[in-house]
Amino acid sequence: MKIFKLHPWVLVSALVLLVLPLVLQPFGNAWVRIVDVALIYVLLALGLNIVVGFAGLLDLGYVAFFAIGAYLYALLASPQLLESWGWLQDHYPLGLHTPWWVVLPLSAILAGIFGVLLGAPTLKLRGDYLAIVTLGFGEIIRVFMNNLDQPFNITNGPKGIGGIDPIQIAGHPLSKKITWIGIEFNSVTLYYYLFLITVLLAVVICYRLQNSRIGRAWMAIREDEVAAQAMGLNTRNLKLLAFALGATFGGVAGAFFAAFQRFISPESFGLMESVMVVAMVVLGGAGHIPGVILGALLLSIVPEALRYVATPLQELSSGRIDASILRQLLIALTMVLAMLCRPQGLWPKNKSGGLR
């Protein structure tokens, strides 16, 4: 494990990561929140990197798994289900508050199952078909989220689900701030540490996967599927595994997202989000873990910084260009320019790596 070699550089970055939210806190919680969301995106990008970067399968419906995780958490830890189904109230007089350590694995498993379900019929096909089918799958999930308020109200339709429980650790909900050895830890800071630990764990998992037999098999499939098959690899199962594992990351990120935002609606899970995660992976360097993290951080933090540029621009353009449009423009340009100028990404692994 190269990454754990104790190097002064590693120590310094560890220290920076530890104190970062405490430094940002005084400037306002909004800054820490931006970093929190960026960490969720890093998690998503790492998951998609397994599918796109390692196995070379373009998944354009990745946000569906994110949505599945988020909705599962929201349903199991909010008043939503009890409100729509009165008889449940007799069983849960105190309300439905499933703890996060129960929901999180469930989200991961459910998303993984959906990943297999989606992958199974399409994996025999060429990559570009897979892209379209996954895109269609993302849309199907979104149509269901939008319309499952009738005849039984499950998802509350376009209005979304609110009142979601925050994550509770050792009896303390992370939505409240705590003071410890004289330092105040805001809610967003607490979530920062939780997300940071998860991301670090995810990075370790990704590295272990990459250097494992499975990881090498995925890369063989990415480089040349026919040759990989000829070498005796069970390409179908390996691709399904990539799909399932990638989806798992999405499910976990979704559950965290729901707990962090405490409100979710179908609007957060549109195609644009899927496209954005793909853009992160591609911009950073598909298949290279540090590159993917860089891509995710860049594409999630830069648009936030652009908000400050957006205000004067909005006045100049009589309200036509606002921050979200600017963000979209940036993502679109990133995808086109990254492919045209630097198809292997900003921080590619080496010459042989990258997109195939």
């Binding site: 078909y129 269609g136 939008n146 423009l329 198809p343």
Partner: protein, 335 residues
Amino acid sequence: MHKLNIKNPTNNETNPTTLGIGSIFNMDTLVQQIINGLVLGSLYALVALGYTMVYGIINLINFAHGEVLMVGAMVCWSVMTFLAREFPQLSVGWAFTLGLLTACLVSVLLNVAIEKLAYRPLRNAPKLAPLITAIGVSTLLQTLAMIIFEPNYKSFVNPLPSDPLAFWGAVITPTQVMILITTVVLLLLLVVVIHATRLGRAMRATSENEQIAALMGVKPDRVISATFAIGAILASVAGVMWAANFGTVHHSMGFLPGLKAFTAAVLGGIGNLPGAVLGGLCLGLIESIGSGYLGPLSGGVLGSQYSDIFAFLVLIGILTLRPSGLLGERLAQRA
């Protein structure tokens, strides 16, 4: 703040009629659904032809093709709005015709430019690279349209009277008649172009084998540009017709028709021109009849808001059972 909402503005947009529960298996309703399905399907067919021609020649799913439809409709709307303001004495019919011609011109220039700038440099790049660029171009066009035309829904003035014509217990609007006639005319023109001109022969040769076609004196770049231009004409006409039929235009209107037209192209066998038309018509019929009967058959549990799902279910089904499509033969797994 404007959130990009890719879904259609209203679910009614793709299925103009909604049925009462009492009318299951009523013959008149079936005729009505078939008419609606054929109209919708012919629009899908026009767009699907663009996908299939491009795919046949350079093996690329041109993701931005749906956006060409949107640009066509938007340009036509802009020209009509401009003419209505500056030259109020001009009749709506003339404004519509001028708008349609401008839309075709702009779409052709746009599609050819996209191919030159975004796809041509990547023609020999790894497989996924042009696909990702195409998605980027699609997003870019949508965002630019949102900035230029503003993100609201705009009502599109229909030049034709809206009184429906009744026959066999069903109704058909003049716009729907126009769509069917236009589609047939365009398809005949396309057949002539493909089978009776030098360009058509060059296109067929290039799609068969680009290198050998080049050896025979065909200029592949020129043929590819021409393919994108023809696809753009078909898509922008479809976009204008779509706008006339449903009465609104907006920046994300190209997404779903584009996706469904791609499904239609796969359904018919991608790379196969008659297949794209057949696939489009089939998909239109499946969607229209399916969404019409879904509500009554499921006892009102699933309503017509699920009509958008049909296309994707058809896509997944066809790829699982018969990946070569209805009319396609050659679709081996290429490494």
